[in-house]
């Protein structure tokens, strides 16, 4: 490694969005977050707020290329590309429609964050410094209401994020992260997965957990948003690896 990757500011933003979203799916696969054919990542098409990119149904994340992403609108209508799953359609269309600041919305059943949603009345505990930037950013949907494959259920899940939160844990289901960029939402998913893993490991000792002081949590949440320079560096670093080992993601 000797060259610093520069952002290609000359590239078409709509194409750049596709490349980043395809990269996110490839990276998520590397982390072991894929659950068979399920789960979906979306992004608002830059400059076209009512259109969103989504991964088409029937492909493994490691197969997805930038040009394969489907376009739907925020009312759930198909616009271009192969079919998406109804769950993908309604969770993502409703989420983007309700929250204009959420340009990117990721949904996974990653192992540890999903395991946390299976524990009754679970909370993400603030027992490690990595939790601190998430102070006030976590929402819970405690009412499992079946698959998110209808507009009503999509709207209901979207409402759970109406307090400005960026993470939604859905009981008996999985997690959603939202962000202004692919880098931000992806980093957030990585953060919560790591923190859930750590929490479940710590709880296996059967003892009470440490509680990080609330004032430190608040200060850090204000000072170091979970989607700062770390997020950009994280996505750029993994894109370097993809460029070397599976460059077709960007085609």
């Amino acid at each position: 490694m000797s060259t610093v990757r520069k952002l290609d500011t000359g590239a078409d933003p709509a194409w750049q969005a596709r490349v980043d979203l395809a990269a996110a799916l490839r990276i998520a696969k590397r982390f072991g977050w894929q659950d068979a054919m399920g789960n979906h990542f979306s992004m608002v098409v830059p400059g076209q707020e009512n259109l969103i990119l989504l991964n088409p149904y029937g492909y493994l994340w490691q197969e997805i290329r930038a040009s394969m992403l489907t376009v739907i609108d925020t009312d759930g209508n198909h616009v271009e590309g192969e079919e998406v799953h109804p769950t993908a359609r309604w969770i993502h269309a409703c989420c983007h429609k309700a929250h204009s600041s959420a340009k990117v919305c990721l949904h996974t059943h990653a192992p540890y964050s999903t395991a946390l949603t299976m524990i009754e009345d679970a909370e993400l505990e603030f027992a490690h410094q990595g939790n601190m930037p998430l102070w006030g950013k976590i929402a819970w949907d405690r009412d499992y209401n079946g698959l998110g494959d209808t507009k009503e259920e999509g709207d209901r899940l979207a409402r759970a994020l109406s307090g400005g939160q960026t993470v939604l844990f859905m009981a008996a289901h999985g997690a959603i992260t939202v962000g202004e960029t692919v880098a931000g939402a992806l980093y957030l998913m990585h953060k919560i997965e790591t923190l859930c893993m750590r929490q479940l490991l710590a709880q296996s000792a059967g003892k009470p957990l440490v509680k990080v002081r609330e004032d430190l949590c608040k200060q850090t949440a204000d000072r170091a948003p979970a989607t700062g320079k770390g997020a950009v560096a994280f996505l750029e670093a993994y894109k370097r690896i993809l460029d070397r080992e599976e460059p077709d993601y960007a085609t």
Partner: protein, 253 residues
């Protein structure tokens, strides 16, 4: 001691060897699943230059790091050589630890899963319940107070003082773990052994609350046998170096 600014031409054989071993430590730590996002850092005193330390720059994954990517800072936290910047947490934890503990040529800091989870359990104590734990007998320190990230000189100095004299591992509550040693081999093996022992301890507690206690005299003898850079530690690093030379030899670049 030297304060001469470094440039690639100034890297002697001893420093080149140090850079290769430290770069290898990152690759091995990544292989073992200890990396968290863009965080955490390993450092090593430049051989023959006690006030200069090699450390990883911010923004590179551990699997990308090569010998020439490592940055040099001094033990007062000043940048000395290298194109990239060092994270402020990396700067202050490592500069202050090396300054306070000149015998610790290598300092590793990770949020490895099991040892970090250990720091999240209130009042947790490292139990001497398995033979691998004995090497740490009398050499473990705990920081029970969490004061925020170690991104300033004062917090770096506080953590360095918590490491204390002669200890090879420091558990940081709600944070992670630091290991210190006279060589990359020793500090890396300590990190490996700490992570393995924390995992085993958590697993053992699922069978029952009361753990086996190894006789303190046997523990003390075990710790003495593993002082410095043990045969095990050297063999562990050499074995992984062979693997890296086969699978990703660019770590030496």
């Amino acid at each position: 001691m030297s304060t001469v600014a470094r440039h690639p031409g100034a890297v002697d054989d001893a420093e080149r060897q140090a850079r290769c071993e430290l770069a290898a430590a990152f690759r091995i730590a990544d292989h073992l699943g200890w990396q968290e996002g863009m965080g955490n850092h390993f450092s090593m005193v430049v051989p023959g230059h006690d006030n200069h330390i090699l450390i990883n720059p911010y923004g590179l994954l551990w699997e990308e790091i090569t010998a020439s990517d490592l940055v040099v800072i001094d033990t007062d936290g000043n940048h000395v050589a290298g194109e990239r910047k060092v994270d402020s947490t990396a700067r202050w934890i490592h500069a202050m630890c090396h300054k306070a503990h000149p015998e610790a040529k290598v300092i590793l800091h990770t949020h490895a899963p099991w040892s970090t989870a250990f720091t999240m359990a209130e009042g947790s104590v490292f139990e001497f319940s398995h033979q691998t734990t004995m090497r740490f007998y009398g050499k473990i320190a705990y920081d029970r107070e969490y004061h925020g990230p170690g991104d300033n000189k004062d917090e770096g100095a506080r953590l360095a003082s918590m490491l204390g004299e002669g200890n090879i591992a420091l558990f940081l509550a709600a944070h992670g773990v630091i290991t210190a040693g006279p060589s990359v081999a020793a500090a890396l093996y300590s990190m490996f052994a700490i992570e393995t022992c924390c995992r085993r301890q958590a697993l053992a507690k699922q069978f029952g609350d009361k753990l086996f206690q190894i006789d303190p005299e046997i523990c003390a003898a075990g710790a003495k046998r593993h002082e410095g850079t043990s045969f095990n530690a050297r063999a562990f690093l050499d074995a992984h170096l062979r693997r890296l030379d086969r699978t990703s030899p660019d770590f030496r670049d």
